[in-house]
Subunit: 398 residues, 2 copies
């Protein structure tokens, strides 16, 4: 029994934390995340010993080389999605944490087997350049900090994966792209949906001609946002409102489902007067896009309505719909064709693990990421035009 | 055995016709439609005779007074929907037919028990004024003929129900409204969905606050239109393309679900170059509406994509969706609230019977219809603005 008060407090805190975090995560994953490769080794041994008893059990190959990741910003997304996802990664492992809250970083380091010497804060962040264990930095900070921490990470000689939106403005995106070029490092934007099975299948279908020629894409993305004090509602930190945070999914989907770039757009916005949440950023913004082939998109984005997370690709001969379309898990796909409506179930995969492994593969094999900085810049450029169209009430050409 | 060739041909034709018509209609309804009140009487007698054997069978009351209807225009809608619907009416019965095709009219008269003397053509249509059996005229002609035949019907002293869109232009709508006032007759537009259970329940929910405050309405209405020679693709007869025919459902739904009138709108249109179907009218037109309370609507209308027939009302605390939303039967309703998604099933009712009985009730009780001429005029006025916005690329104020 350890009698030191600090340590006791630490244990209590950790237990509470585990309970909260563990709710949605399978025990096996927790074990894997906590003890890392040793768990896999032990599992292999145990399997060998009982091979005759369980001849059907297929054991995955031992992982090959993994890149080392530093997670910058330990908020909800990092704690509940990204850090647990490393247990599902084949090519990525977490080796460092960067946070302004040492207590949080210490707890998570213990949980995920991160060496305490690899915990950084925002002051000594640049010294990460001297840490050879870190190959890739994942920026999971508020939007307004993406550019600075990406550029600093690149200047420290590391590859960078930045959460979306890439930054607040096209100018910031360009700075990030320039910094990556100068440092000769990879820069990727975390367009998670491009790496998971449902969205990839929808893209394939839209391109294959199975639904005929795509005519219209409709998409609604939004939710009823809570706490008025959160960074998402602060213009300096967020760069904008629902469009930057959640409407970007509708925009990006319209682009990846068509594989075209919009040529013009219109938009209409509404923000409830007097709502304490929307003093600085917009509540709802709907927008229409026109693509070169004639495809039109009708999109809705809001911080003010009950959760919407959907798109439908409507072709001449059928349609495919994802709802939910872009959340972290539990996506569902319906296809309508030849008077038949069917639901298709695809393998359950961890989106973040797939995304991070893609980046690791690009780093290891010196390939360009599927969603490089230029992809983030394109969305930002279009989003600025959407704001312009909503303000002017005119069609904006791109 | 009747040896006259004409008669034999007639029988063959009629048999073929019955087979085609009967496909989607329950045998009981056919019987009711063919022999009218006598069938009800026979059913009553049969029930009385077997009362002790079937004590649970509830027999509906005998119908009261019914208004007499003339159907003008014997196309698909009249033959397959409206005429069969009289069997479900409590207050309406078909007593006259107006058609340019005597063969068609004769066959349908025989089928639905219409006295052959009550068959009119477009030349002697005005003499319907001398037929006291006819109370109401239902205009089921191509859009471009609505105004003329409505005005002539009103001038003949009859009440008129016109199919939607009410006419090709607001000016035509105004002529119809003026003619009704002058003749002191009722004028109603066939906004069928306002009279059937699913749409009425969606309206009630949207107004009740059960979903919180309505924020956004999205609706897609369209289908992949066939035969390039049909009247719907002829500007003179149709007045416009998909918007006039099917997009009007999305517009009208946005209005009846909000119970507000839009104050401004934007639109974006696309028509496939060289498509033989779209030489005169638009293929796809998407539009956005702003309502006074801040509700925004995102609507899509097309003659070029796989059937879409849907709307969703998204509130702060939940949503209700109809899909299909506005077709003749088989509507489905889903409600999302408190993290529960449920499908609600409402009584199956014949939309046309409900609509016609509403008109009959207004006539018998001298009440204003729920969807009078002014309602049709409002949609036409807004549709003209949607075309204007699509053309100019600017927000149009209303």
């Amino acid at each position: 029994m350890d009698a030191r008060p600090e340590s006791r407090d630490g244990k209590w805190s950790r237990r509470k934390f585990l309970t909260e975090v563990g709710g949605g995560i399978a025990a096996a994953n927790l074990a894997g995340a906590l003890v890392g490769d040793r768990a896999a080794a032990a599992a292999n041994e145990a399997t060998a010993a009982t091979a005759s008893a369980s001849p059907q059990l297929k054991v995955p190959d031992a992982p090959g080389k993994k890149t080392g990741w530093a997670i910058v910003g330990l908020g909800y997304l990092a704690i509940y999605q990204i850090l647990p996802a490393f247990a599902k990664c084949e090519k990525s492992r977490v080796v460092a944490l960067v946070s302004g809250h040492p207590d949080k970083a210490n707890k998570l380091a213990l949980r995920y087997g991160v060496n305490p010497k690899n915990i950084y804060n925002y002051q000594n962040y640049d010294s990460i350049r001297d840490n050879p264990e870190v190959d890739v930095i994942y920026i999971v900070l508020p939007n307004g900090m993406h550019a600075e921490y990406t550029v600093r990470g690149l200047q420290a000689g590391k590859h960078v994966l930045s959460e979306k939106p890439m930054a607040r403005t096209p100018a910031e995106c360009q700075q990030m792209i320039d910094a990556a070029k100068k440092a000769d490092r990879k820069l990727m934007v975390a367009y998670r949906c491009r790496y998971e099975p449902y969205n990839r299948e929808a893209i394939r279908m839209a391109q294959s001609g199975e639904l005929g020629k795509t005519k219209v894409i409709v998409s609604e993305h939004g939710f009823n946002i809570g706490d008025p004090t959160q960074w998402r509602l602060n213009r300096e930190l967020a760069g904008g409102g629902s469009l930057m945070d959640i409407g970007i999914y509708a925009l990006n989907a319209a682009r990846y489902l068509t594989r075209e770039e919009p040529t013009e757009l219109t938009a209409m916005s509404f923000t409830t007067p007097g709502d304490p949440r929307f003093k600085e950023v917009e509540e709802t913004i709907n927008f229409q896009l026109r693509f070169p082939s004639g495809i039109l998109a009708n999109c809705s984005s809001s911080y003010g309505y009950d959760s919407q997370n959907r798109y439908r690709v409507v072709g001449t001969d059928g349609w495919v719909e994802l709802e939910p379309a872009t959340i972290y898990s539990g996506l569902r796909m319906r296809i309508h064709k030849n008077n038949l409506l069917e639901e298709v179930q695809l393998p359950v995969r961890d989106h973040f693990a797939l995304e991070m492994d893609h980046m690791s593969e690009c780093v290891m094999e010196n390939k360009e990421p599927l969603t490089p900085g230029e992809e983030g810049l394109r969305d930002l450029t279009i989003m600025m035009k959407i704001y312009e169209a909503a303000k002017s009430g005119r069609t904006v050409k791109l």
